[in-house]
Assembly symmetry: C2
Homo-oligomer: 148 residues x 2
């Protein structure tokens, strides 16, 4: 699976969340062989959860895995990962993080790089447009999600 395909799944998840009245941030975790381990989206609204961000939902939906399953894996996410999701990627030794956009939010990219994770920012206009729209519509919900 190439990066275009991985990010497309993350964006599909983000759009699904938007359709559910939730926060439109999605992610997909792909292993070193290109297999999808799990995909997910922010579930703050849908589950009343403070811990189901896009990336953590993808990890949750990947189920219980031994550490070796994550080796060389890539986390695709529509938006730059917050401190919690940055930490989740570090915990599981995820090798690469591919980010749709970081205009609407700049998360732990520097820290990921410092810790040896390969970080790519795609600057995808569809990702940016989706978050632009959501933040304009529901600024308080957005602030709640990022602890602001």
């Amino acid at each position: 699976m190439d990066d275009k395909a991985g990010l497309a799944i993350a964006l599909e998840e983000a759009r699904q969340s938007y359709a559910e009245g939730g926060i439109p941030i999605g992610a997909a975790l792909i292993d070193s062989t290109g297999k999808l381990l799990g995909r997910g989206h922010n579930m703050r609204v849908q589950l009343g959860s403070a811990i189901h961000h896009g990336e953590t939902s993808a990890l949750f939906n990947s189920g219980r895995l031994p550490a070796r399953a994550y080796k060389g894996a890539t986390m695709y996410t529509t938006l730059s990962p917050c401190d919690m999701c940055t930490g989740a990627c570090l915990l599981y030794g995820i090798a690469r993080v591919v980010i749709g956009e970081n205009k609407n939010f700049l998360g732990g990219e520097a820290y990921l790089k410092q810790r040896g994770v390969e970080v790519t920012v795609v600057n995808d206009p569809e990702c940016t447009a989706l978050m632009d729209k959501f933040i304009a519509e529901k600024p308080d919900l957005w602030n709640e999600d990022i602890g602001v």
Copy 2:
């Protein structure tokens, strides 16, 4: 609520997890007024979850809160927080982290301090004994939980 009481709740949660056949790590999130916001324990076994550590479970059980609710809050945890839980504390601007023990695992304490969080390690023998026992009984489960 003083630190002794806060850590006692976290240890109660850890013991509950052990009784459920799970990983015995617990946490409690207390706000600046001493009120309990939420308590929880590792749910890897109970929920099949890669994201419900002790601290993240306490956050999950605290429900959806505005950022100001976490201001000046303390996270009590029986074991030094991993990268994910360290990140979760940072995301929500938690002011203090009080840790039962860090003999069995040394997590993101230095990073928390670097980011301005007050970190206290209690070195509680009951916390240490509980993790000693669990790690001896189920080393593979322990490794899975910390991505090793």
